[in-house]
Amino acid sequence: MNTILNVKNLSVNFNTTQGIIKAVDNISFSIKKGDCLGIAGESGSGKTQTFFSITGILSDNGSAKGIAEFDNVDLLKLNEKQLSKIRGKKIGFIFQDPMTSLTPHMNIENQLIEVSMTHDKNNKNDALMKSKEVLDIVKLPRIENLLKKYPHELSGGMRQRVMIGISLMCDPLFIIADEPTTALDVTTQKEILKIFNDLKKYKNITIALISHNIGVISEVADKILIMNKGKVIEKGNCQEVLISPKHEYTKHLLSCVPKWMK
């Protein structure tokens, strides 16, 4: 099977004091193995909740309906225990704000090896070796000192690389990157995107790249999904959609991007 993720009729609702909010409204899409799918749209369009819902990391008041076939298993039918075996092992995550997304009181080394030791039941040495491999991939310098440092002692760019490293510890098939470059400056952004391209090329990892920044998506993605208010507006080949958008909303979104970025 060439398709690694097949989502059909996915809906995500949140139960709030203001009533039920429809974050994702009956969407369907699929991702081919080795591809990078960029998901673009404004804040609140449902892009993040789509992927959080199928992997079971929604907040308590959220619920999801539909089908999400990943690697021949419908994720939405699994319970928490089963999902936690897949998260971190077959599916890796990269979150938006690396400062608050890393545990403040654990050093980098522990946060990295924790993943291997949970899933692959490695002993500490094997896990340590793997963590050094992974740090090479994300191009973090001076390995020895680094592992013993705490998140607040690193720069934003370094922290994000650590996050990427964490997601790679168990050689995942699929990585979900939620606004990975939003908190970073432009130069660091470029470096991070290069890492994504390398992951695609050399490791054949499928990537879902969520971002409200179309420029970022265009650098890495093969296919693109445009979302607004919980619905899929347009989807297709990244370059095609960006050069000749068919839908009004897509055109509107593109018009907000400065011309030199295109």
Partner: protein, 299 residues
């Protein structure tokens, strides 16, 4: 990108609209909370009874009757809650005690709030070193056993009822100061304060017009949570014999008497205790309800 230029009137309008919708929304939420609603009713009942009830009862507060000492609760002779060692009707005494306990609760709390809000807004608004010093003082005072201070004050200055109000208030302002300072800091950082400053409003005016109204919600919540503490503190003192003195009585005094006589006259402990617990519980529920209503983070 469009930059909107706000005039002073626009600012005031925005702030007042925000204020109204927030409070009416919150009030509705509060009423929907069942625990709060029941508590409001219970509390109102107790308050009304304390202040107006005695006029409806047949026995007087002072009335001693040596033929009727230590009577258990009884419907026929009108001593619904029984009598104490002097033949005085317990129900009337509880209601009178309620007047005192509740009054102290409110007045001392108001004293605390005034001190606390003033202190907190100044510390939060000025910030920097002044803030650090002020908060350090609060931190150290917060860790002091307040009862001990109050006892010393009461002993030194005599057992004056008005002093009681002030002494208690002077001790309880710390929590309020902390909370208010925290809120002031976060309000200060909001953009409309910047806008006000750039329009030339003086600091004092900013504090009065913008910061305090936004604090109102928090202050109200903490008032309802502070009144129980104050009532408990007064009761502690009265229990030890340092608070309210004869011929006045409060729930603390009644409970203290009841604890002494509990082996033979359980009603002397249970009924005042019941009133106190109901009042404290109601205040807590209302406070929780208010807090949820004004800050709906939990779903």
């Amino acid at each position: 990108m469009n930059t909107k230029h706000y005039s002073k009137d626009d600012l005031d309008n925005i702030l007042s609209v925000k204020g109204n919708s927030l409070y009416s929304d919150a009030f509705k939420r509060l009423l929907r909370n069942k625990a709060s609603l029941i508590s409001l009713i219970v509390l109102s009942l107790i308050t009304l009874l304390s202040f107006f009830g005695p006029y409806l009862l047949q026995y007087d507060f002072y009335e001693t009757d040596w033929n009727s000492i230590y009577l258990p609760p009884n419907i026929e002779n009108g001593h619904y809650f029984g009598t104490d060692g002097n033949g005085r009707d317990l129900l009337v005494r509880i209601l009178y005690g309620g007047r005192l306990s509740l009054s102290i609760g409110i007045i001392a709390t108001l004293v605390s709030v005034s001190i606390g809000v003033t202190y907190g807004t100044i510390a939060g608004y000025i910030g920097g070193k002044v803030d650090t010093i002020m908060m350090r003082i609060v931190e150290i005072l917060y860790a002091m056993p307040y009862l001990i201070f109050v006892i010393i004050l009461m002993v030194v200055f005599g057992r004056n009822i008005y002093l009681l109000f002030i002494a208690i208030g002077a001790v309880e302002w710390l929590t309020m100061a902390r909370i208010v300072r925290g809120q002031t800091i976060s309000i200060k950082e909001k953009e409309f304060i910047e806008a006000s400053k750039s329009l030339g409003q003086s600091s004092l005016l900013i504090i009065i017009k913008h910061i305090i109204p936004n604090l109102a919600g928090t202050i109200i919540v903490y008032i309802t949570l502070m009144v129980p503490s104050v009532i408990i503190l007064e009761s502690f003192l009265s229990f030890l014999g340092l608070g309210v003195q004869e011929p006045l009585t409060s729930w603390g005094v009644l409970i203290s008497e009841g604890a002494r006589e509990m082996e033979t006259a359980w009603w002397l402990l249970i009924f005042p205790g019941l009133f106190m617990v109901l009042t404290l519980a109601s205040l807590n529920f209302i406070g929780d309800g208010l807090r949820d209503a004004l800050d709906p983070k939990e779903y």
